[in-house]
């Protein structure tokens, strides 16, 4: 699983990568996930429906990330614009 974050002037940045089945890697992923959420980011997992349509799923806990998710994308929280 990859944890990515979109950033101004960067595009995507790889924050952490690992296998959730490996305890050390799991804890690193969990720690990074928590840090990003605390920093005010939203986390989304790109998914596909049964009909093949692509969409995303917002996750608020690391446990909510689907087991087969290849990546979680962090992006800044939405704010009403002018």
């Amino acid at each position: 699983m990859k944890l990515l974050r979109v950033k101004p002037g960067h595009g995507e940045v790889l924050l952490a990568e690992g296998d959730v089945a490996v305890p050390e890697q799991y804890s690193e992923l969990l720690e990074t996930f928590g840090r990003e959420l605390e920093a005010g980011m939203w986390a989304a997992v790109p998914t596909s429906t049964r009909s093949g349509r692509r969409e995303a799923e917002l996750v608020r806990n690391f446990d909510d990330v689907p087991a087969d998710a290849e990546r979680v994308i962090f992006f800044p929280r939405a704010a009403g614009g002018g």
Partner: protein, 204 residues
């Protein structure tokens, strides 16, 4: 007596102002100089922080990420038309959104092309890695797409709603809707033709 006192007070005020004038002028000059130095420094910093090459590379990475997340048809739409269309799911009637980079999300009714309104939403990165909170264009579109497809209700609640035409000109929006209809028609026709072409035998 009163006249004498008044005259004396006036004379005293004039004397004091004449004494204070050079000092006041010095303070004012210093404040103006500091203000102009600060403005110049800010201008220089902004110019130094903006790197077109870096922004271009960031946009290329953002495009690759967007492409990996959306359907092939959506990606083609974004490449060729410059926006994404996301169908709304909150109401029984059919409606959709046009998602532009760094512009409001435009809600409309596809059957009539009637514009429902603009939803102004931003994704400002407060960490400002290069002095700006602004994501690359395609990352902004990706953020809107992810938020809309994941939790349309929450995103729309966060947004400030305005009548159509506030930030996206009505003429441009109408033109984009016509372009989208043409694009879809052409795409459908080319898909219909494609299998026939694949199975045909070239004429001698």
């Amino acid at each position: 007596m009163v006249l004498a006192l008044g005259t004396a007070a006036l004379m005293l005020m004039m004397l004091l102002s004449m004494l204070a004038l050079p000092h006041l002028k010095r303070v004012l000059d210093l404040a103006l100089r500091r203000l102009s130095e600060r403005a110049q420094h800010k201008r220089l910093t902004l110019v130094e922080e903006y790197d077109p090459g870096r922004e271009l590379r960031a946009e290329q990475r953002a495009r690759a990420l967007l492409r990996s997340c959306v359907n092939e048809e959506d990606w083609a739409m974004y490449c060729e038309l410059g926006f994404l269309r996301v169908r709304g799911t909150l109401e029984a009637r059919a409606y959709a959104y046009l998602v532009y980079p760094h512009k409001p999300i435009l809600a409309y009714v596809p059957s009539t092309n009637h514009m429902l309104g603009e939803y102004c939403i931003e994704f400002p990165d407060r960490t400002r890695p290069y002095g700006s909170t602004r994501l690359p264009d395609s990352d902004d579109v990706l953020a809107k797409w992810m938020a809309l497809t994941a939790d349309e209700h929450a995103l729309i609640e966060q947004a400030n709603m305005h009548l159509a035409g506030r930030q996206i000109r009505v003429a441009k929006a109408k033109r984009d809707l016509v372009r989208l209809a043409c694009w879809e028609r052409e795409r459908m026709e080319s898909h219909r033709r494609a299998p026939r072409r694949a199975g045909s035998v070239p004429a001698l």
